[in-house]
Structures are given as structure tokens and as C-alpha cells.
């Protein structure tokens, strides 16, 4: 499939994109996260698309997934309104404060901290410590 973006044309292998997207969607909707950190590498590395095309478009693709999985979770009775109301305003506030703090810290440092944090959390979930 050919897509045009800001005056440039890109050849996209939709078979790889769709299969990858499908698998990421199952996983992310099953465990209740967005899926961005997996979608972006899929589109940049596997589909060889430039970053500036990927940032917006991957978000749109994930939005499809998140909205349908929200619906399905609601249908299965997995949604708790009060719990949601406790988290939602905090998420909005965080989304507002986040970018302002982001200007002052180095993304490298954050990513390294995140890396360690994620490994610790993963080991905890796997029951290793």
C-alpha cells in the first residue's frame, strides 16, 4: 500500500503491519494497556517508516484498539466506575503536568530509570523476588 505524507510517498507492507498490529492488539487489550511502546518499534523497524509519520498514525491505530477493548471490557463487566473515577482525573492532571516536567529532565535518564523499574516489576510479577 502506498501512503502519502507531507509531500513524500511511502511504500507500506500492510500484511506485516496488520499481522503485527493484530497480535499487539490482542496482547494489549488482554492486559489493559495502550500498546504504543510496541507499535512504534513495529512501524519504524519492521515497516521502515520514518518517525514523523509514525508518531501520529500509530496513536490512531492504538486508539481503534483501545476503544473496542474498552467496550468489550465493559460488556464483560470488568469496568468499575468508581475505580475509574478515582484514576481518570489523576491521569488528566498527569497528562497536563507531564510535558512541563519533561522539558527539564533528560529522556535518557528517564528511560534508564524506567528500564530498571520495569525489570524489577517484571521480576516481582514472575515471583522471582
Amino acid at each position: 500500500m502506498k501512503v502519502e505524507f507531507w509531500g513524500q510517498e511511502f511504500q507500506v507492507n500492510m500484511v506485516v503491519g496488520c499481522i503485527g498490529g493484530f497480535l499487539i492488539a490482542i496482547m494489549s487489550s488482554m492486559f489493559g494497556f495502550g500498546g504504543g511502546p510496541f507499535m512504534v518499534p513495529l512501524m519504524t523497524v519492521a515497516l521502515r517508516l520514518p518517525m514523523y509519520l509514525v508518531v501520529g498514525s500509530s496513536l490512531l491505530a492504538i486508539f481503534f484498539n483501545t476503544s473496542i477493548s474498552t467496550m468489550r471490557h465493559y460488556q464483560f463487566g470488568n469496568f468499575d466506575l468508581i475505580f475509574f473515577l478515582a484514576m481518570f482525573p489523576a491521569a488528566l492532571l498527569g497528562g497536563y503536568l507531564g510535558p512541563q516536567i519533561a522539558k527539564r529532565v533528560s529522556p535518557m535518564v528517564v528511560k534508564r530509570i524506567a528500564c530498571v523499574g520495569l525489570i524489577l516489576l517484571a521480576l516481582n510479577l514472575l515471583g522471582i523476588y
Binding site: 500500500m1 489493559g32 501520529g56 490512531l60 470488568n78 489523576a90 528500564c115 516481582n124
Partner: protein, 403 residues
Amino acid sequence: MKNRFRILPWLGLAMVMFLGSQCVQAAEGEALAAPTIQVDKTTIDNGGTIKVTGKAAPGQPVYIEVWAEGHEVRASRFDSDVDKETKKRPYIFYLTSKMPAFYKILVPKDLQPKLDEAKKEGSKWSYSVLLKDLGADIAYTVPAKVAIERYQSSLMASVVGSRGKLLPEMDEKESKKRSMQLVKARFRSIGNVLGASVEVQPDGSYSASLKVNKGSAPGQYKVVAFVDKKVKSEPAVFENKISFPTVYMGNAGTSMNLIYPFVLTLVVSIFGVLMGAGGGFIMNPLLITLFPTLPHTVVAGTVTPTVLFSQGSGIYNYSKIKFINWKLGAGIGCAMLVGGFIGPKLTEMITLDQFKFAFGWILLVLAGLMFWQTTPGYIQKNKKEQAILKEFKKRAEESAKAK
């Protein structure tokens, strides 16, 4: 002739004696008086310890059943264990929405070693076997009566994202057996459903302390003492009170101080923005680890809509400056739509341990990705990419302004 006449009265006498002894035995059975029961407090404040006392027939072990009345939760279990008789995997999904939000059976204190032994088995313990071993099955009444639906799932049904075919209702015995598995699926650990705290004196008076954990369902709790299947006390009642900001969450079946998830979400979502990943990745495992009472289905099902809105606002911002390729996004989006349809059903099919296991690996992969993004090769490439990204974004913003 004479002989027969002589034997008849004896036979008759023997019959009378036999029947008489039967009657005496029956009378003894009835003589097991129903135990009395009292609780020392009628209200507790977000959990607490209640002392249950009473008097039962001397020499009998006393079992105490406690449950939350009026607050019910969902419990589900996907049976994919190999059947011992048919050697096949049944793949049946059991579901009830009527499980009491709190359920516990207290057994005599001297059975503590048996409980400890069962705890050593880890997550493989069987509730039904344990109940029988402890003799506590006589006190197992409330969940035995809950309505359970069962679905025959198949690969095809999973693909279209349905629970499968609804199977006919189970008989009472089968339903009771399945309800025990659901109790385990819901309350997970032995300590949540069983406690050895009943002390019985030789004269039949007993006392037990009942601990209701913080975060348990509010409202009425009923306590009943059993000495036999049919010999039980009247229910004693106490109430668990909670007050704002601790709120009961109906679907999750627990009450929680709302400040905790608020602060947690705030921190995580800020951090999410900083590292350029949605907060869902960290939010889910953190909630699961920090609040073990929350079912993983509810965690996944509630974090998803929270993430949805931040994505929506992101899309809005990008679309204002026409920085989204709708064709590409929607194309891959359609494939993700199908995946997103199937995923949530799988959530309720897996147990918490499987959820943790899989999420653990996902996080390790993610950590790998994060690490890769800090390697020099990536940074160099990324610098170029970021520069181009900025350049294009600037152009986009300018043209959006120009209009």
C-alpha cells in the same frame, strides 16, 4: 408346630428391641441441640476483629461460616485441566455473579497443622479436598447455592470473541463442586477462606476470633455456627462500616481508599509522559502488586478506558496540525480492532498467576526496548529522526496556522 409358636414371641421381642434401639439412636441425633451464637460487636469500622462466642453440644467440633450479605461479586474459572476419566480437556468456562464478596469458614484451632500443610502446596491447593479434610464441608452452604452458568468454549467461539455455548444447568451436587472451585478462583489464598480459630471447651462453649480485613465489602455480615450439616445456630449479624474516602467498588468487590489510586495514577501518568509510553504498562502491574484484593480483570478493564482519553487528546492535537496519516493509521487500526475484540475475553479466561506470568515477560521485553533506545547506535539514528520530525512538525504547524 410347638416349636414355631415358641420362637415367634422371641422374634417379636427381638424386633421390638432392635427398633427401640434405633429410636434411641435417632433421639440422640436430635438431642444435638442447635448451638447458640453471639458476637461481641455489631459494627466494625473498615475491617476489624470480631469475637464470636456461644454454646454447642459438648464434645462436638464447631465450624463457623461467615459471609457478606447483600454484596455479591463475579467469580469465573476456565476449566482446561485434563479430565481424569475421559482424558480430555473440557474447556468449560464457569461463571457466577452471585459469589458473596466475603466468605470464610472458621474451623477448630487444633486443625491448624492441616491448614499449614495445605499452604505449603502453594497455588495448587484444592478447596474441596481441604474442606473435606477439615470436616468443614458441613458448614459450606452459602456459595453452594449460587447460580453458576457454564459455557462450552471452542476455538471458533474464542476467535469471534464469545464465551461459547451456554450449557444446561448443573445438578445440585455438580453445582456445589464447581462452586468450590469458584470460591478458590475468587479468593485465591487459603488464608482468605479458611481460618483455624475456634476454641471449644469440654462443656461445649466455644469462642472464635474472626478477622475481617481492611478493604472488605461493607454492609451486613452473617455468622452461623455448625456442629453438623443440619444442626446450626441462628445467624448472628454484624455490620462493616466504611466512610469516605474509602469507597466500595461493586465490580471489584473490595473497598478502597480512593486517594491511593489517585496518587498512583498521577505519578505513573507523569512518568509515562516522560518516558514516552502510555501509563497502562506500569499502572496494571503496580495495581496488581500493590492491591492484591483487586481482580486482574477489573484492573485491566478499568485502566483501558483511562488510557483511552489520553490517546484521544493526543490524536486531537496531532489532527489539528494534520500530522496523522489517516489511511495508514486506520488500516493498521482495523487489524487492531479485531485483536481488541478478542483480547478482553481472554483476560477472564486466565488466572491471576498466568496474568502475572505473561505480564512479567511483556515487561521484560519492554525493558529491553527501553534499553535499546538508550544504546549509542539508536541515539545517533534517533537524533536524525527527531530532527526531521521537528522539521516536519514545524511545517505542519505553520501551515495549520496559515489556514
